[in-house]
């Protein structure tokens, strides 16, 4: 009886007797589809894991090396560093003679690591080869400091004007035997005064002043004689990029 039902179904659906041989395969077409689906799923999972791995490797920032590099860079441009004239201004002569020992004493974090410090591409100091290290850059000014001086010849004059702006003056007072230098004024303000006489070398700080006029008051028998040397630093400043690299 079931066979007649089969025959009816076949006739209704228009299928021919030949196709019945394929029915067992149709039952397993699902398995093939499942197999393909699992393969696709595995591939997607593997690709996802590989991408995650790559991203994790890229996110590794070596924070300890970066900390060492940043601390070293901060110490090199600090106002109280040996190589700076003031904050963020490097002294060209001192920077050229920088040593690894100085770096280690100001920044213990770089002990035992490879270091390279470059100023505008020129290597200032190097130890080892920090190829894969962290680099920190700072924009600085480089000052080429020279010393200029003017002389007040007490025979002829008692004052001199310094036109360039300078942060400090160094006075060398050398009066002759019959002269006593009592007072030194800068821009009409008394900066040194001694009734018994001033001699020798004195340093004065003159922050932010231009056109300083240095005047000297003396007393003594005969005309005043002797000299006062006024020396001051003059700096030519240029911009530069300081690059600090610290490796393992």
């Amino acid at each position: 009886m079931s066979r007649s039902i089969e025959a009816c179904v076949r006739r209704l659906t228009g299928r021919r007797a030949r196709e019945t041989g394929r029915e067992p395969l149709r039952g397993q077409a699902n398995l093939v589809a499942l197999g393909v689906a699992l393969i696709v799923l595995t591939t997607v999972t593997v690709v996802g894991v590989v991408i995650a791995d790559g991203e994790l490797a890229r996110a590794d920032r070596d924070p300890v090396e970066r900390h060492a590099a940043e601390t070293l860079a901060d110490r090199l441009v600090a106002a109280d560093a040996n190589v700076t004239v003031r904050q963020n201004v490097l002294d060209e002569a001192n920077a050229a003679t920088l040593t690894v020992g100085e770096l280690e004493s100001t920044t213990p974090a770089v002990t035992g690591r490879s270091i390279r410090v470059r100023l505008d591409g020129q290597v200032l100091v190097e130890r080892g080869n920090p190829i894969h290290g962290q680099t920190v850059r700072r924009l600085v000014r480089v000052a080429d400091v020279e010393s200029e001086s003017r002389r007040i010849d007490l025979d002829s004059t008692t004052e001199v004007t310094v036109a360039e702006p300078t942060p400090s003056l160094r006075l060398q007072i050398s009066p002759a035997a019959n002269t006593t230098v009592e007072t030194v004024r800068v821009n009409d303000r008394i900066v040194l005064h001694d009734e018994d006489g001033l001699t020798g070398t004195t340093r004065l700080r003159t922050p932010g002043a231009r056109n300083l006029s240095v005047a000297v008051e003396t007393r003594g028998t005969g005309g005043p004689s002797g000299s006062v040397d006024v020396a001051y630093p003059v700096a030519n400043e240029t911009n530069a990029v300081l690059e600090v690299t610290v490796g393992a």
Binding site: G27, Q28, T42, P108, A109
Partner: protein
């Protein structure tokens, strides 16, 4: 005839078993090998970054010379610090050694690290321990020429 009726049942049964097998195999592979490795890598990175942040905070807590009045008899400063409570699921400790380094101690021995502090010469000693599950503070005390830094945990 009964074979044909059973065929779909067996087919579906095989498919279901195959899927279950696949899922369990995948889970084993992932949780057995891949996931713990990633957790350790991330824990490593987090530990390093925590150490460096802590070092930066300690260095910033030391008042710069310019802000201390010249004849100050006492300097005392307390700064709160936020550390992540756990790394890779476990609480950890950060200890200061006398050679100005911070050490991270973690129960999983592969995690851990040290960082050197760069402190000015005025700082005489650095000591103390932080436990990551407490309230962590940095205490700086002394006078203008001699300072001590202590890591405190409430």
């Amino acid at each position: 005839m009964t074979d044909r009726a059973v065929a779909p049942v067996v087919g579906k049964g095989v498919e279901a078993a195959l899927v279950v097998l696949y899922v369990s195999a995948m889970t084993t592979v992932l949780y057995g090998g891949v996931v713990p490795e990633y957790r350790t890598d991330v824990g490593d990175e987090l530990g390093e970054r925590t150490l460096v942040t802590a070092a930066n905070e300690v260095e910033a807590a030391v008042p710069p010379k310019a802000t201390v009045p010249p004849n100050a008899t006492r300097v005392e400063r307390r700064v709160r610090l936020d550390l992540p409570r756990t790394i890779r699921g476990d609480t950890y400790r950060i200890t200061a050694q006398n050679d100005s380094t911070l050490h991270l101690y973690h129960p999983a021995t592969s995690l851990g690290g040290r960082v050197r502090l760069s402190l000015p010469n005025r700082v005489d000693s650095v000591a103390g321990t932080w436990h990551s599950d407490g309230e962590t503070r940095i205490r700086v005390y002394g006078n203008e020429t001699s300072l001590s830094v202590t890591l405190e945990t409430a």
